[in-house]
Symmetry: C2
Subunit: 105 residues, 2 copies
Amino acid sequence: MAKKVTFDPEVLQIAQFAKALSHPVRVFILRKLSTMHSCCYSGELVEELSIGRSTLSQHLKELKYAGLIQGEIEPPYIKYCLNRENWKRLHSLYSNIFEKENTNH
Amino acid sequence: MAKKVTFDPEVLQIAQFAKALSHPVRVFILRKLSTMHSCCYSGELVEELSIGRSTLSQHLKELKYAGLIQGEIEPPYIKYCLNRENWKRLHSLYSNIFEKENTNH
DNA sequence: AAAATATTTCGTTATTTTGCGAAATATCTA
DNA sequence: TAGATATTTCGCAAAATAACGAAATATTTT
């Protein structure tokens, strides 16, 4: 059988973050959290997006899984905030991609 | 029926580019093209990645569709190069996300 | 304890993505 | 023209993603 490629962990991490950003709902949420609002509630998002609650919950779960947000229980709500540490990591990974660019042409 | 959200075109564009970057093979290709090698051939990539030719072809097609690469016929090869214009656009979209960041906390 | 509120999990369905081999296409070489 | 080379398209199967409503969970209020 053919040798399996093992990708550079950085490549895998970039792909994972990109997957988290590959749906408009999730981009919307991250943009909202990274700008004026550093945190928000699921209920707010449901209204803004007019999307099913369970659907939104699924998107939040994926963002949590990717490490880009985290939820704090604040009864009766769950407050979702950006995970600043991983957000920086994402920023730095993308910066590297673009800064390494070859401009000889 | 519920009102459909129409996303900001910027949000849609970010999600589309992110989708192109959401698979390790495609990240690998784009990193390769954006750094030392500005162009490469399908055959080279097949060897480096040990992936089926048709599978690679599919990944190249997606990168082309997202506008991130373009192929020039250079018989008997097809030379794939980064689409610098859209690459810059991607860079600028991502820069915006991070620069708008709120640091009050 | 029962009702109300906020959110998640479950079960299901439809669509998209990933991956491969076989066949097709296109070009160069003998 | 026949053979060799490089790549894509087609057809298919398996897995992942997206979306929803119903039911479950957890907490607060009455």
